[in-house]
Subunit: 380 residues, 2 copies
Amino acid sequence: MAIQNFVAYNPVRLHFGEGVVQTLGETIKQYGKHVLLLYGKGSVKKYGYYDEVTGILKNAGLQITEFGGIQPNPLVDDVRRAIALGKEKKVDVILALGGGSVIDSAKIVSVGLVHDIDPWQFMLWQAFPEQSVPLVTVLTLAATGTEMNAAAVLQNTETGKKVGFVHPELFPKDSFLDPAYTVTVPKDYTAYGIADLIAHALEAFFGKGEPSVIDRITVDIIKDAMEQAPLLLNDLKNTAWRANIMLDATLALNGLTNYGRSSGDWGVHALGHELSLLYGMPHGATLSIVYPAWLKLQAGRIPKRIQKLGDLLFGLTDIETVIQKLEVFFKSIDCPVRLADAGIDESKKEEILHQMNKNQDSGMVYLLNDADRKQIVEYM
Amino acid sequence: MAIQNFVAYNPVRLHFGEGVVQTLGETIKQYGKHVLLLYGKGSVKKYGYYDEVTGILKNAGLQITEFGGIQPNPLVDDVRRAIALGKEKKVDVILALGGGSVIDSAKIVSVGLVHDIDPWQFMLWQAFPEQSVPLVTVLTLAATGTEMNAAAVLQNTETGKKVGFVHPELFPKDSFLDPAYTVTVPKDYTAYGIADLIAHALEAFFGKGEPSVIDRITVDIIKDAMEQAPLLLNDLKNTAWRANIMLDATLALNGLTNYGRSSGDWGVHALGHELSLLYGMPHGATLSIVYPAWLKLQAGRIPKRIQKLGDLLFGLTDIETVIQKLEVFFKSIDCPVRLADAGIDESKKEEILHQMNKNQDSGMVYLLNDADRKQIVEYM
């Protein structure tokens, strides 16, 4: 497949390192005087990030309108309310303080504020934004990569359906990545974030296109995360390890791993979402279960590709060993690799398969049919 | 040193792959109707790129003003003339068709067109642009990375001095990287381009900051170039190998390798420039001579850093062997590793050292004094 034609574009300005949040005021002032501050359900207040950020905004003479309480699975209803509030208050700029759910919500708010369109229409790809209110982010969880890309995922309050939208207007203008803002993430969610970023790199690796330098770089991100993970998980307050994982997570989904590819695969993500939907499992914990099973299914179909992964990642090409080593890694960071590890009984497999088949979860490159999904669920 | 604080920002839209130039017209039309077309000394006409590009512009209904004849070491005088022409003709957008010298010239033209300031003042960092005319590039030589960065190097016609300027206004809006536009680059200049891109990655690796994932990525760009080089040099018309090297060259100097670093070193480049100045040596050919000598000087001073390079690049940490393997590679692609290989006699070493000491060429991280430069020249 070699290099596939591609367009690369990413205008996000990344401010990375300890203390960068101190310069937030100057950055935001470029975009206006009145800030709509979005945040989640309390941890930013509990750990002092809210106080520090609002203090910086006030010192910079900025006016603040707040919208807190965004859920971990962000709801379009909250986005609608935030848009109404922002329109009423005539805000100039949005600041998202939080993880993926807050930033994803803020992205849709940023386009919703300047269009008279229900935001769910964007999510259904039925309407496309022509402009946006400038969005600035302060990241508090390394995982999704949303801080440096143009994608957002929201859930519909009534249907429970989770859908994603990608559009250049969703790029944040500036993202502040201060590792000190992630030191309070608990051990389990730190590990799930690591599983998530590794899965993002794998989705790219199994995408369409095999650009040689980007294959290497994609695996470098995985390799680095696997090396940093035990250091960080044994020393959660260490900002140096936090910084390394934070950078890995951003690189895993900021477009770089798709240079030379025309798409990622994303089949494992689709399957994993069903586990979250059915049992409320954290996203990263679904991926550490589904990826090994997906690889077992693909072992006989794309052996060379999996051997390439094994060679770059572990210096070995025996496929069974490659998958086993991935599983050993996930277990070592307390991420589940079987349903049983997540406390989900064998007897649920039928229900899971039913849900996956109902949505015809497939991926974009190595397509899955009903029989494939059955095999994957059996492996889980 | 771990990760150093950094700001990453690169808004260039990269259009990569065979045939992408076909969409050039639509892209340029976004920016206006009247194009200032800059190109070099004839090879784009000889090989048909000029005809194809001007045909595409005309089909798109665009008006063209031409400025050809830009030199391989681009001169500020040409830039001044191009600015005068562009102002007179009231152009809306600039198209640079060529390699580093044409694109670098076009960057300064793009800011010169909208300021009443002699362009050399920008080059001396005595004036800073506030805006620019949109710049689009079509790259015909993989080497300098200028297609996706905000730097330009120009030479002063009177003094012969070569200086660089870096400013966000110098980013091209769009860069078209079609590997088919590089297949006519002769074998020697293809190899010098590879030496140049490897040296760019090394300058970053020996910069300030040791971000673990970026160290891996930086070295993997080198590793990929070393692997692709013999494939390409034995099959110069092969667009797949051309594409791989083209992508390596862009990644080596588009900012990525400086994530987590506060600067590169650039000492080797400074020393290499003196050889170009004294003997007209091609830039890449100076770097393959100076880098091994610089590494020999640094072997006793920064052994761990060089061992890290060796470990990531060759899986070995004996410093002498690491340097030797780099030299073997450069020789294998017919790049000189000693002055003698470039036909420069031992007796010139005094003159070379004098020139280097006169300019106090040093680099930014592992600073060099007169005695260091003497040692380096002895190794060359």
